[in-house]
């Protein structure tokens, strides 16, 4: 049980900056997810915390202790790796006992801890097996078990689910959340999958190009992304973006994409009035685009003409790719919608939920 602090942490590999001036304060018992595209520096950030890479500048603290120069084994952390990194020549039991044996734990204590962890993970029957005799999901559990028996202050996970098939991933996600609740320990979890981040995290740190973009709860990241990158990264399907210009006409502010212009609701006119004539990016999430026939009654509806390009039936909804002038965008519309490919339709943008970003700085205007 511990807090973790990244203070101005920078890591360079030669001239390449992998992590740039990272500042994160992870609270005790928090489930923090570092998310970003591959090569963004999130794994490096985690390896710095584990002590597997040396920090170029700045410092990392576990509780109040600066761990920059402390060996991985003395940091009181345990790590689950992407490839599981199970020792292939050792049985499941020995894999889990490995760290305890190195620390010269008593035999009884090792047995107790390994058996407790095995029971918790449902792998009691596998203790005598070698890793190669296990399925992906079982290996995953053993890797988690090897971390649990150590009873560390902080658990580190490096993309632990990316080698599993989709169905198992969903199941293991729920299991990890459950373990976090049960263990009451700090989890730091790295993934490139925003769904994993959204479903498990207490807070998410979005990273790209080695820099922290936004650190907040999943809901805030989704509702109020700070910049264009976070807006596009969080949410599936991604937010739609339209290059546009803010225009003012007769006291109303419009978002003008060149193909269509949408008035901004009066309640937010004041926010955007100072930015009139600026190049912006207008963003709206797919679920805020509706078939005009099935628009919920209370929304601030603005009509847009578009052509149906592709439809993807999902059962509970239909994902429709629309084309309007030079813009293509996705809407998640009601499954009863009768729109079919090639139709010229009137669709509705729900202007209660939209985002505007400065085209130059890519920061949100709000």
């Amino acid at each position: 049980m511990a807090s973790v602090t990244y203070e101005n942490v920078t890591k360079k590999f030669g001239e390449t900056v992998a992590v740039n001036d990272l500042n994160i304060k992870i609270e005790d018992k928090e489930f923090l997810v570092l998310v970003g595209p591959s090569g963004c520096g999130k794994t490096t950030a985690l390896r710095l915390l584990a002590g597997l890479e040396e920090i170029t500048a700045g410092q990392i603290m576990i509780d109040d202790r600066i761990v920059n120069d402390i060996a991985p084994k003395d940091r009181d952390i345990a790590m689950v790796f992407q490839s599981y990194a199970l020792y292939p020549h050792l049985s499941v039991f020995e894999n889990m006992a490995f760290g305890l044996r190195l620390r010269r734990f008593a035999k009884d204590e090792i047995n107790r801890r390994v058996n407790d962890a095995a029971e918790m993970l449902g792998i009691q029957d596998l203790l005598d097996r070698k890793p190669r005799q296990l399925s992906g999901g079982q290996r995953q559990r053993v890797a988690v078990g090897r971390a649990i028996v150590r009873e560390p202050k902080v658990f580190l996970f490096d993309e632990p689910l990316s080698n599993l098939d989709a169905k198992l991933r969903v199941q293991m996600r729920a299991e990890l959340t459950k373990h976090h609740q049960r263990l009451q320990t700090t989890f730091v979890y790295v993934t490139h999958d925003q769904t994993e981040a959204m479903t498990m995290a207490s807070r998410i740190a979005v990273i790209t190009k080695g820099e922290l973009q936004q650190l907040d709860t999943p809901q805030v990241l989704y509702d109020l992304p700070n910049n264009l990158f976070v807006a596009g990264f969080i949410g599936s399907p991604s937010m739609n973006f339209f290059p546009a210009k803010l225009k003012k006409d007769a006291g109303k502010v419009y978002v003008d994409t060149g193909d269509f212009a949408i008035p901004i609701p009066d309640s937010r006119t004041d926010t955007f009035a100072p930015h009139v004539d600026k190049n912006v990016v207008f963003g709206i999430r797919p679920e805020n685009i509706h078939d005009s026939a099935f628009t919920p009654p209370s929304v601030t509806a603005e009509k847009v003409a578009a052509k149906v390009d592709i439809t993807e039936l999902m059962g509970n909804e239909i994902n429709i790719f629309f084309v309007s002038g030079k813009n293509t965008f996705i809407g998640r519309v009601d499954p009863r919608s009768k729109m079919s490919v090639g139709d010229q339709v009137q669709i509705v943008f729900n202007m209660d939920n939209f985002h505007v970003f400065d085209a130059e700085t890519e920061q949100a205007i709000r």
Partner: protein, 315 residues
């Protein structure tokens, strides 16, 4: 082999191959083609391996000697004679010593070199390349070169030892010194190759395993003993086995370096076969020694395979 089973392979069955059935005509035709295609290779192998082996076994029961002009069937006579023959007994004992010592030395030195070459330093590629030079030199050449280098009159090594210690060693008149020399030169020549193989094995170990061990609390020495060693063990055993088998038949180094001398102190079984057969034309007796060598190789081979299967790892 009376039945070919395509279905029960360890890694899963081949989806398209059906098991061979005698009843079906199509399968019979397939079997025929299969036989015809394999036949040339089979016949070639039969004529180049099976025939000489059988012929050797046959000869080992005769007292065929070109010089004496004898060629009679004498049963186990040659084998009984081997037990008392000074040259053969000596060669047998030295072969065992030589084979065991060189294999262990090769593995030990190879492991050390592999560990060095596996660490990160400038000019690693260059070091890996020059490491292989001794292995690339033909053994017979290495044998002759070392004979000169170690020669008591012209050799540079005894000269240096003399300069440093004041004692000028004469290696090739001392049986024990000669034996040690043969073993060391052999290790000099073959350890680098062992090192490259072990290095490949070490590089096949996923880096995340070492990361995991570091987080688990293993220091460098523990990581070596608890990860590297067990994980390269199957390869080490396989290579050790090959090394044993190769060394058992080794002939050229001893031929070039000492020609078995002084006396028969450094003679190995393969050299003894050469001496008795090619030099003294005692083909019957030489064949008997060959058969003994064959049996030893076979035993070592089977033992090695068994050990290899037991220690297999997969990631």
């Amino acid at each position: 082999m009376d039945k070919i089973d395509f279905t029960s392979s360890k890694s899963g069955s081949l989806p398209s191959s059906k098991p061979y059935q005698k009843s079906s005509r199509a399968s019979y035709k397939r079997y025929l083609i299969f036989t015809l295609l394999v036949a040339p290779a089979f016949l070639l192998r039969l004529s180049t391996a099976a025939y000489p082996i059988l012929q050797t076994i046959y000869l080992s029961f005769k007292n065929l000697s070109v010089l004496k002009g004898t060629d009679e069937f004498i049963g186990f006579g040659n084998y009984i004679k081997m037990t008392t023959d000074f040259g053969v007994r000596n060669a047998f004992l030295f072969t065992i010593t030589f084979v065991v010592a060189t294999t262990l030395l090769d593995l030990l030195i190879g492991m050390v070199i592999a560990l060095l070459l596996n660490s990160n330093f400038r000019g690693r590629l260059f070091a890996r390349t020059i490491n292989l030079i001794p292995w690339a030199i033909p053994t017979i050449v290495a044998g002759y070169v070392f004979r000169w280098l170690l020669d008591d009159q012209f050799g540079i090594i005894p000269f240096w030892i003399g300069q440093i210690s004041g004692i000028h060693p004469v290696i090739f008149i001392n049986p024990l010194a000669s034996q040690i020399t043969v073993i060391l030169v052999h290790a000099w020549k073959d350890a680098p190759f062992m090192a490259i193989i072990l290095l490949a094995g070490m590089q096949g170990i996923p880096g995340e395993l070492y990361d995991a061990a570091r987080v688990d609390g293993a220091n460098a020495v523990q990581r070596f003993w608890k990860l590297t060693i067990p994980l390269v063990m199957p390869l080490t055993i396989t290579m050790g086995l090959f090394r044993l088998v190769w060394s058992l038949g080794s002939f050229d180094l001893v031929y070039g370096l000492t020609f078995g001398g002084p006396g028969v102190a450094t003679s190995v079984l393969a050299l003894q076969v050469f001496r008795e057969g090619i030099l003294f034309f005692k083909f019957g007796f030489a064949s008997a020694i060959s058969v003994m060598l064959l049996v030893i190789v076979a035993i070592v081979g089977v033992l090695g395979l068994y050990m290899f299967r037991k220690s297999e790892v997969s990631y």
